[in-house]
Amino acid sequence: MENELLSQLGINWGIFLSQAFNFAILLAVLTFFVYKPLIKVLDERSKKIKEGLDKAQEADARLKEVDEISKEKIKTAEHKSVEIIRLTSQKAKILEQDMMQKMEEKQRQIALETEKMAKKQKEDAEKQVLSNAVALVRDLIVKTVELSPKDIDDKLIKKAADEIQGLRLCQGLVRIFGSQRCGRKKACIRVYKTIGKARGLGQS
């Protein structure tokens, strides 16, 4: 019955078995030569893809890390730049103050020097004027003397002679009275004149 059913369905056990055997061979061949290499290729590919994805993830993480580092560095650089600007500004202010002080000092020095120079010039001019005046007066006296030199010579020589006489007299008085005044010329002359007048001598 069973055989009839199979024959009615067109199934022949011999053909079926041979076809099954063929199929098994084909399956084995396909499994061995196609399926396994294909699976292997697919596995490798999926592995590569996974590796690629992992690397991409890693790269992304690194990128984020780098980004954070760069942000951190930018922040630090900004802080540093602000600090540098602040320091530079402070330095500039100090430098400015220093320069101002120096400039003021220099101005003071220049003013002092100018004042000194002006004073010196004034003094020099005064000295020059005085010197010229003295020279002028001297020349005037010389010219006046040259008008009648003999009279002036006589008077001066007489004065000199009188002084010598007076001194000699004083020395005599010192010897007699032991006076200490002979060392003072003016005092001696006074003594001489007093005594000279009394004797009718020593008209000056």
């Binding site: 006296i141 007489k158 002679a161 006489q165």
Partner: protein, 91 residues
């Protein structure tokens, strides 16, 4: 003196020697320095002052302008010259 190169100081040495000799003999070395030559009358004014044996010298120095400068023994001096008077006025 020539060997030691002191010939330039000969005049000075001579003057010092004269003063020294005069002093040694108890006399004076007197120099009358005037702008012009002394007249006899002027010389007479000093006759009492000058003793016999004193070394007397007369020197003409126009720089004095007028008057007289008397130097005794090279160190004591009486200056009655116009130059001295002018200097005193302007000193």
């Amino acid at each position: 003196m020539e060997k030691q190169g002191d010939l330039g100081k000969a005049k000075e040495i001579l003057e010092k020697t004269e003063i020294f000799l005069a002093k040694k003999h108890g006399k004076k070395a007197i120099t009358f320095e005037t702008a012009r030559k002394l007249t006899d009358h002027q010389k007479k004014s000093f006759s009492k002052f000058v003793e016999k044996g004193d070394v007397v010298k007369e020197k003409i120095n126009p720089d004095l302008i007028a008057g007289i400068k008397i130097v005794v023994d090279g160190n004591k001096q009486i200056d009655y010259s116009m130059k001295n008077k002018i200097n005193k006025i302007f000193s």
